[in-house]
Amino acid sequence: MNLVFALAAASLFGAGAYLLLSRDLVRVVLGVVVISQAAVLTLMASAIDRGDAPIYPLAFGPISDPLSQAMALTAIVIGMAVTALLLVLVLRVTRAFHSRALDELAEEEAERDHRLERRHAPSQESDEASAR
């Protein structure tokens, strides 16, 4: 049972990490969602194998810990809110840059850095000229 949960959480995390590394921003968000599911699954697995489901009327014998399931619910809610926020940000970026491919955004960034370098260069040159 433990091994099944561990393998499931690990493969979810791996799939999420793979998606995170892709170029498309929506895939990146999906990667975040999958990683959040890995965390939720680990949270549930941390106490699920201790007995039966903690539903009233309680079964005779050991029951599993309901606290970890309460925590999992909280984590799911937080994960949903954060995912919504991320999707809004992706929408904003898509509108601002007219692209949702990461390498195109990086190109734009590099171009801006280049402009910034040029801004400083003339002032130094003119200083050297006046010094001469």
Binding site: V82, L85, V93, F97
Partner: protein
């Protein structure tokens, strides 16, 4: 006990109301400042009423201890709470004086304060995660403040990286519950000593990665320059001056209180990572040409010192780490706020910050560096590293001074007095803390005593 509940409720309730109002109106901005000042006042009330060497605890809903969610205010948590809400207030006053540009800014700032006070005062591991997410969600919204394409791009990077960081944190929380069966942070410390060392090391690594991402340490720093240079000065000041404190707090609290054995085991690695941060941040900051880029890389270097002090450990190391975090937060808030202002004496304010970063008296940074030297004096290699780091910071800070205030500064229009008053006040605080460091040093020593009793 009531003071503690008030300190948590004030920013929470005020923030929930303020997000609904139009923050561009001046009155709403000042209401947010009032709420932040109210939070500081209630934190001071908690600090006054707490027993000198102990902690004030409070269990929600009147449940017996061990069942309800516990809050615990000790000197360590209170120092970080006061520092973070204090720098947050300074940045908010600056932005309100200068004119708020987005309607959600004041409310979100107050909600960030709610998350931060919760993080620093909770004694429950899962509650820590919830408050951590609350503070971060507020920070995600703040990171796109200004809505320029650059700010939005930076906000996306910041959000994506930190969301993954918090899920790594959650994975470690789940593992802690699995291993110890409790969420009470004091109880975890005692039960962790009996846990399987392999599991404990994995948990400790998860926490370290989560807080390292938050702090912007060397291997986890990749998001930091984009975000700090892309966002507005007030937001960069908030992110580096108050939000990043969670990282230092987390490594100290989780390392020294929850996983002391693993912290001792990793001390060599922490010193190496800290040293790498110092050198990497310093060297890259020297190569930068704009103030905000220089400050972003300098932030990476400065947290390296904190990590080195934590790695050395013991009462002296923890006290140095805490004091250095406090001073670094003040420096960064002040310097980020000066990046876009020009005019009489702005250069002087920048010089005070630069001296403080490099650790030259009479600025407060000297006291921090002194404590660091005291903690590492028996390790010659680390002393050399500290000196090299200090020289690098002098070079990069005065290089930017030269670009911004000598070469380019002359022709620029001086900024309005509204934009200048808060950096001036912060420079006064940094100088005062450097000239009379006794209260700050005593407070950080008391905070370190919580973690490692002498």
């Amino acid at each position: 006990m009531t003071e503690l509940a008030v300190a948590l409720l004030v920013p929470w309730a005020a923030g929930a109301i303020l997000v609904a109002l139009d923050g561009r109106r001046r009155i709403v901005g000042w209401l947010a400042v009032a709420a932040l000042l109210g939070t500081i006042a209630s934190l001071v009330a908690v600090a006054v009423s707490a027993p000198p060497a102990g902690a004030l605890t409070f269990t929600t809903g009147g449940w017996p201890e061990g069942v309800g969610i516990t809050f615990r205010a000790d000197a360590f948590g209170l120092l970080f709470g006061l520092l973070s809400v204090g720098t947050l207030t300074a940045a908010t006053v600056h932005e309100v004086l200068d004119g708020v540009r987005e309607r959600e800014f004041p409310g979100v700032v107050v909600l960030l304060a709610a998350g931060l006070t919760g993080v620093f005062l909770t004694a429950d591991l899962f509650n820590f995660y919830v408050f951590f997410e609350l503070a971060l969600a507020a920070a995600y919204v703040l990171s796109v403040y200004g809505r320029t394409p650059r700010a939005i791009g930076a906000g996306l990077v910041f959000t994506a990286v930190n969301v993954v960081g918090t899920f790594v944190f959650l994975l470690s929380v789940a593992s802690v519950y699995r291993v110890t069966g409790t969420l009470d942070m004091a109880e975890i410390g005692t039960r962790m000593a009996r846990a399987d060392p392999n599991a404990a090391i994995l948990i400790a690594v998860g926490f370290f990665v989560a807080f390292g991402v938050k702090l912007g340490l060397f291997p986890f720093h990749f998001w930091l320059p984009t975000v700090y240079t892309g966002s507005r000065p007030a937001v960069a000041a908030i992110l580096s001056g108050s939000l990043a404190n969670i990282g230092a707090y987390g490594i100290l609290r989780f390392g020294a209180e929850l996983l002391p054995r693993e912290l001792a085991l990793a001390s060599g690695a922490l010193v190496v990572i800290g040293g790498a941060s110092v050198v990497y941040g310093g060297v890259l900051a020297v190569s930068r040409r704009t103030a905000s880029e220089m400050l972003a890389y300098s932030a990476i270097g400065q947290v390296g010192y904190v990590l080195m002090a934590i790695g050395i450990g013991g009462p002296a190391g923890f006290a140095a780490a805490i004091l250095y975090t406090v001073i670094n937060a003040l420096n960064k808030t002040m310097l980020f706020l000066t990046t876009r202002i020009r005019g009489t004496l702005v250069g002087a304010v920048f010089v005070v910050g630069a001296l403080s970063v490099a650790g030259v008296p009479p600025a407060a940074g000297f006291v921090g560096k002194l404590e660091l030297f005291q903690a590492v004096h028996h390790e010659p290699a680390l002393v050399v590293l500290l000196v090299v780091g200090a020289i690098l910071s002098l070079v990069y800070a005065f290089q930017i001074y030269q670009y911004d205030h000598w070469l380019l500064g002359r022709g620029d229009e001086p900024s309005r007095w509204q934009a200048r008053v808060v950096p001036f006040a912060l420079a006064g605080v940094v100088l005062a803390a450097g000239l009379w460091p006794e209260p700050l040093a005593a407070f950080s020593q008391a905070a370190a005593d919580v973690l490692a009793p002498r």
